[in-house]
């Protein structure tokens, strides 16, 4: 029998959020938590109602019609089509109300607002690597400002993981080979559990940490405070040079010798050789680097080599940071599979778009 020799730090400290008088639900620390709890309460009421209804009916009928000397045989009771239909229709209507309520809640939870603060998350067995846009990296902890929309763009280096913050009521699987996104707006400062909630191997139960919500000023201070070496843009630029991307893409605003320019590319719309137009979001950038033949820009040849196996997920994030620093289009709502909202008005220098 082997026991753990070391209890991870985050296990030793209980989440104060749960130490309440009636610990039936975690602390509500996000903009959707109240809505989720209200919906949950509705579901509880419906569940209790029907459970009690059936329970009471069974006890009552069993007692009233109990077997005794004068009652050794039941009556042949004819059915009623009206009753059958009634007790199909009423549950159906309740079900549809619950469905619609839940669907509405879910759509809100899946569609990141535009101009959310973007943070990249890379999950791997058995830790979380978090990259803030401006440079700070952290492990197993996520610092965010309170009352600010935050969007996490996440990917796994190996197996499927899941990013779960009970206090925010949000959760999303983190997949290998594909970005998924999760957004939230924290409404209370504090420390909240972060759990991996998709089984991922030996230390699945240890793959977690804390989400730390801070006042905006504290968050800015925290961001500035830790310089873990070079910013992701600088790292991305270094990679760009190392991998000789400029040989085809060039370095200036105009098209490169053999490949489209990357200035102003991020979030623009790109016309492809097969006639389609696609948005140059994170998924597009990632695919272009790892599987360049999948989408060819109109007017160019399929000559870009693949960098699969050469760049890691972290390095991809750094390259994106560098590409973004070359100019990007205004946000059109969250990347990935989210819906579209009106683009935020932003004063940005006009950048050439392919």
């Amino acid at each position: 029998m082997r026991t753990l020799t070391r209890t991870p730090e985050f296990r030793q400290e209980p989440d104060k959020a749960v130490e309440q008088t009636l610990p039936l639900f975690p602390e509500r620390a996000s903009s959707v938590a109240g809505g989720v709890d209200a919906f949950f309460l509705m579901l509880v009421i419906v569940a209790v109602f029907f459970s009690v209804l059936i329970g009471v009916a069974i006890f009552y009928l069993s007692f009233k019609y109990r077997r005794r000397p004068g009652n050794q045989l039941g009556d042949l009771v004819p059915g009623s089509q009206v009753l059958e239909i009634t007790w199909m229709v009423i549950p159906f209507m309740i079900a549809m109300v619950l469905f619609a309520w839940g669907a509405k809640l879910y759509v809100t939870m899946r569609q990141s607002p535009s101009d959310a603060l973007e943070i990249y998350v890379v999950g791997k067995q058995w830790m979380w690597k978090i990259q803030h846009a401006d440079g700070r990296r952290e492990f197993n902890e996520l610092h965010v400002p309170v009352n600010r929309d935050v969007q996490l763009t996440m990917i796994s280096e190996d197996v499927i993981h899941d990013f779960f913050v009970p206090a925010f009521r949000v959760k999303m699987d983190v997949l290998p080979g594909r970005y998924t996104t999760l957004w939230f707006r924290a409404t209370k400062t504090g420390r909240y559990h972060l759990f991996c909630s998709q089984y991922c191997g030996t230390n699945h139960s240890l793959m977690g940490g804390w989400v730390i919500v801070m006042e905006p000023s504290e968050y800015q201070a925290w961001l500035a405070g830790g310089s873990n070496g070079e910013s992701p843009e600088a790292a991305g630029q270094r990679l760009f040079t190392q991998l000789a991307c400029a040989a085809c893409h060039g370095e200036g605003p105009g098209p490169g010798p053999r490949a489209p320019s990357l200035a102003g590319l991020y979030r623009s719309t790109v016309k492809l050789s097969d006639g389609r137009t696609v948005a140059a979001d994170d998924a597009y950038l990632r695919e272009s680097i790892l599987d360049p033949g999948a989408k060819i820009v109109a007017g160019y040849d399929n000559i870009m080599p693949t960098f699969q196996g050469t760049v890691s997920e972290d390095q991809l994030v750094q390259l994106f940071a560098y590409i973004k620093s070359m100019g990007s289009q205004p946000a059109q709502g969250g990347s990935g599979e989210t819906g579209r909202t009106a683009p935020a008005a932003r004063a940005e220098p006009a950048a050439p778009v392919q």
Binding site: D291, G293, A294, M304, T306
Partner: protein, 214 residues
């Protein structure tokens, strides 16, 4: 429960027995549709996702060998159907000839398939550490070949089982078991063989004929 002639003891009469056996074979074939269905679904998703890579990989397959095999298998279904007819006509020797013909044609199919597989080995098109495919989308092509081997391999397994089934039927047919009025096993064996044929009819175009003329 005892058996009297062809009739098993738990049935009322031969009619019920024949109905039961037939329904049983049809239900079983439905399960086989679902079984292959999973593979066809995987193929469909990846063909949609990696359209060009699948096309390029498909062009590595030998269409003429595939076409020969298609013809062989269709012919074998024909000989099988003739065998069923022969059993209804109570012609024992003819039934045996057609069963043997079906088995031989099935054997031809498997031999050609074996030859194709050997070719794949030589050309480094078997997924795994030795897989080599020119071009930028070699990983997606590797998925194509994984599906190729899974689908044709599963089909070949069913053909081999079919050959075994035909052998058993042949032995009983030689003894005259199916030319005395009750031929349900031949009919149901025929159903199975036709099903295996139909699976190939789907496999051939999906694997060999996509993007033939790029």
């Amino acid at each position: 429960m005892e058996r009297s002639g062809a009739l098993f003891g738990h049935f009322r009469d031969l009619d019920q027995q024949k109905q039961t056996a037939s329904l049983g074979m049809w239900v079983f074939l439905m399960t086989e549709v679902m079984f292959f269905g999973g593979l066809f679904l995987a193929y469909t998703i990846y063909r949609w996702k990696y359209h060009d890579a699948f096309g390029a990989a498909s062009r590595e397959l030998d269409v003429s060998l595939g076409a020969i095999n298609t013809g062989v298998l269709i012919l074998s279904s024909f000989t099988m159907a003739l065998g069923v007819w022969a059993s209804e006509m109570r012609k024992r020797k003819l039934l045996c000839i057609f069963l043997i013909a079906t088995m031989v044609l099935g054997g031809v199919f498997l031999t050609v398939k074996g030859f194709e597989y050997a070719q794949k080995f030589e050309h480094h098109l078997v997924p795994g550490p030795n897989f080599v495919f020119p071009g930028p989308e070699s990983q997606h092509a590797e998925i194509f070949f994984a599906l190729y081997f899974l689908m044709t391999g599963m089909h070949a397994v069913h053909m081999i089982i079919g050959e075994g089934l035909l052998l058993v039927l042949l032995i009983y047919a030689w003894k005259g078991s199916f030319t005395g009025g009750y031929n349900a096993p031949i009919e149901n064996g025929g159903l199975y063989w036709h099903f295996v044929d139909i699976v190939w009819i789907f496999l051939f175009p999906l694997l060999y004929l996509i993007d033939l003329h790029h």
